[in-house]
């Protein structure tokens, strides 16, 4: 499938910031059968290219804007050819071994409720894929989809206790509970073209390492494995490692975000 992505983010600062630093992970990590036809990132109209890869293999770059900064725009424009692999990543070159991804991280730390959620799906009958689909279903059942119920620093344990969250939280809860069952698991940030009307979004899901298949994507929010409507961008232990934008600002009051993502099929 040929996807066209337009991702516009506008940051506004309540009071002009003196200086804004941002680290961007907005370029696609190789693998998963995506073919990148075009991928451009612009900061206030200036083109930015990745200057390095981080430890997880994500292309990255930073930029700094000297103040006064009242607003800041980040635009991603991309053309990608995708294929449906039922979530199976295939033989991408990995900088870290699966065993590493059994480590908990700050946002995916285990607690008794997460452990209990995992234990309910400890039965491997029907195979690991079936077991993980059951785990996805139970994550989705316990964590209702509700925007504004959580924020970017909400942990898996908090989201589960809350009983509500967004795709980031579904991914964190799935990751923490999959690890509790002994599966290496990681966070993926990317894009999803949800339907033909172009209702699309930045999205997050999990990848879980399964015997014989390797890394397989699981989207707990939509209870499915990623297909040709998904575009992978960055991976890590949790949101913090794979965040599309991480920033530090000097001065300036409350930051507000205005995000628009349009993904279309074809041209």
């Amino acid at each position: 499938m040929h996807l066209t992505i337009h991702h516009d983010t506008l940051y506004r600062y309540g009071e002009a910031a003196h200086r804004v630093f941002q680290a961007l992970r907005l370029w696609p990590i190789p693998g998963g059968g995506q073919v990148i036809r075009d991928w451009r990132v612009e900061i206030d109209g200036r083109k930015l290219r990745p200057t390095c890869r981080d430890g997880f293999g994500n292309p990255a770059a930073t930029h700094v804007i000297d103040g006064p900064v009242a607003a800041l725009s980040i635009v991603v424009h991309a053309e990608v050819d995708t294929q449906d692999r039922q979530g199976v990543l295939g033989d991408a070159i990995e900088s870290l071994p699966p065993l590493f991804y059994l480590n908990a991280s700050e946002l995916t730390a285990i607690d008794p409720a997460l452990q209990a959620l995992a234990d309910e799906q400890a039965d491997p009958s029907g195979g690991e894929i079936a077991q993980l689909h059951r785990l996805c279903a139970s994550v989705r059942e316990r964590v209702d989809y509700r925007t504004d119920s959580t924020h970017v620093a909400t942990s898996a344990a908090e989201a589960l206790a809350n009983g509500a969250g967004v795709c980031q939280d579904h991914a964190h809860v799935l990751i923490a509970s999959a690890r509790a069952l002994g599966f290496p698991a990681r966070y993926v940030s990317g894009y999803l073209c949800a339907n033909a009307e172009g209702a699309a979004a930045s999205h997050a899901w999990a990848e879980i390492h399964v015997n014989h298949l390797g890394w397989v994507g699981f989207d707990a929010a939509n209870q499915m494995c990623p297909d040709e409507r998904y575009v992978r961008v960055a991976v890590g232990r949790d949101y913090r490692d794979a965040a599309p934008v991480r920033g530090v600002r000097m001065g300036g009051l409350a930051e507000t975000l205005d995000v628009q993502v349009r993904i279309g099929e074809g041209q």
């Binding site: 680290a23 430890g55 997880f56 770059a61 059994l102 530090v248």
Partner: protein
């Protein structure tokens, strides 16, 4: 006047004064006691004037106190030092090869020579460093290897400090003070100099420019600031090397290039000798609220525009449980037998080891795997019943956090204490500098001495002092 110690005394040995100490022995015998006391006070005055202090985080009182300095030097013969030096070079080469390997192909884990989980699930393993090639493949440019001695030819490595080892300023200043107090003594002895350590350090830092460095690399020292316990050392080293001492806010990363703010504008920085911990280096990657670091520094590092000494993630080699495997690293990477011995160590994660440790707790030294500075440590033979019970409970609850070692009878060196001159236990921290060109080691290192009678804990935070360390030439 000298008490005879039960363990190996480096001056007295088993049968009379050992050759390297002939001069020191004669000097001590010729020196009236009140003269020594006078010189001791003079030394204290000098240290106060230099301003060399060490902040200690326990107890009340003066937080900026002096580390006690003992006037009687610790002496190593040239032949003794040569043996140590070869062993240290070998060990640090293997440690650097290990760190490179764990962030690349992980051959030693695949070969089953070091447990995979010990590395990959270790809090000191930094995934941020995976797949990143460093200049010369060097991670621990400055390593402090803590050694103890138990006999004329028996040395052991107690631990490796691969992150930001401190104490080298004492090595240099102790010699400086001794030269001022006893110039005659140095005229009679051929002692290898140590004053050039800062030059050797600067050479080392200049030998590892980042790939995108043009021309002579600009080197700076990054400190967390005046509240850090080792701030004096940071200022001392920067001053001696003639480089800028900077804090996070003095540096700026723009376009993934690191600059320092100067009165004439921004100046590109190529190599940073950083004395701040990994987690504070860059708020865009590690602690989001850290004000000590520099936003974007990690990305400038990965982009090949700046190099850091020591590297982020070097701590994976100085974990006390990883320590157990250093002899195996030497065999694996260098194909050599280790020249320096490890202390036999019980890994409390292993059920058999734990059982042994619990049964012999009163004979062993127990250390927290991630502890430092002598905190979180039990010296079995000197512990109270209460302390033993406390550690027994800790070991059962969190066995993976502890290792245990036999209590070694550390060598003693004559030391000037209240009661006169008496043997006190010592250790030795040589500083090993690994550059892109070669390894440099200034002869000797920092000798730390446990001032309390019978004490084996030499840490300055626990009542330890320091001595000048002599390596005799020729």
């Amino acid at each position: 006047m000298l008490e005879k110690a039960a363990c190996f005394d480096e001056m007295l040995g088993d049968d009379g004064t050992r050759a390297p100490y002939a001069l020191v022995d004669a000097w001590l015998k010729s020196l009236p006691r009140d003269q020594l006391e006078l010189k001791r006070r003079e030394a204290e005055g000098l240290f106060r004037r230099i301003g060399i202090t060490f902040a200690v985080y326990t107890e009340g009182g003066d937080p900026e106190r002096l580390i006690p300095f003992d006037l009687i030097p610790r002496v190593l013969a040239q032949a003794e030092w040569q043996r140590l030096k070869l062993g240290l070079e070998q060990r640090v080469k293997a440690l650097n090869a290990f760190i490179h390997d764990v962030y690349h192909g992980r051959e030693i884990l695949r070969a089953g020579r070091v447990p995979e989980r010990l590395v990959l699930h270790n809090s000191q393993f930094r995934p941020e460093m995976a797949g990143f090639d460093l200049p010369g493949h060097i991670y621990s440019h400055i390593a402090g290897i803590d050694m103890v001695r138990t006999g004329p030819d028996q040395y052991y490595v107690l631990e490796d400090n691969c992150r930001t080892p401190s104490g080298v300023s004492y090595m240099v200043e102790n010699r400086e003070v001794m030269l001022r107090l006893f110039p005659d003594l140095f005229r009679r002895a051929a002692v290898a100099p140590v004053a050039h350590y800062p030059d050797e350090l600067l050479e080392t830092l200049r030998s590892v420019p980042p790939p995108n460095c043009r021309g002579e690399p600009t080197v700076v020292l990054l400190t967390p600031g005046i509240h850090n316990s080792a701030y004096y050392e940071h200022a001392f080293l920067a001053d001696e090397m003639g480089i800028e001492l900077v804090e996070g806010e003095d540096l700026l990363v723009q376009g993934d290039v690191c600059y320092m703010r100067t009165t004439r504008g921004l100046a590109r920085v190529d190599v940073i000798y950083r004395r701040i911990d990994d987690e504070y280096i860059d708020p865009l990657v590690f602690h989001p609220n850290s004000m000590l670091g520099v936003p974007g520094l990690y990305f400038a590092y990965r982009a090949g525009n700046v190099n850091l000494a020591n590297a982020i993630g070097a701590g994976i080699a100085d974990d006390k449980a990883v320590y157990i495997h250093v002899p195996e690293m030497i065999r694996f990477y260098l194909g050599e037998e280790p020249l320096l011995s490890n202390v036999p160590t019980y890994d409390c994660r292993l059920p058999d080891d734990l059982k042994y440790v619990l049964a012999h707790l009163d004979e062993l030294v127990v250390k927290a795997v991630h502890g430092s500075g002598g905190y979180g440590m039990l010296v079995g033979p000197h512990a109270t019943q209460g302390q033993l019970a406390e550690f027994r409970a800790l070991l059962k609850a969190r066995p993976y956090d502890y290792i245990a070692q036999p209590t070694l009878s550390l060598s003693t060196v004559p030391t000037f204490v209240e009661q006169g001159i008496a043997p006190r236990h010592v250790d030795l921290r040589p500083f090993v500098l690994s550059g892109g060109d070669r390894i440099r080691i200034v002869p000797g290192g920092l000798t730390r001495v446990a001032l309390r009678e019978g004490s084996l804990v030499v840490n300055s935070s626990q009542g330890g002092g320091t001595k000048d360390t002599w390596v005799l030439e020729g």
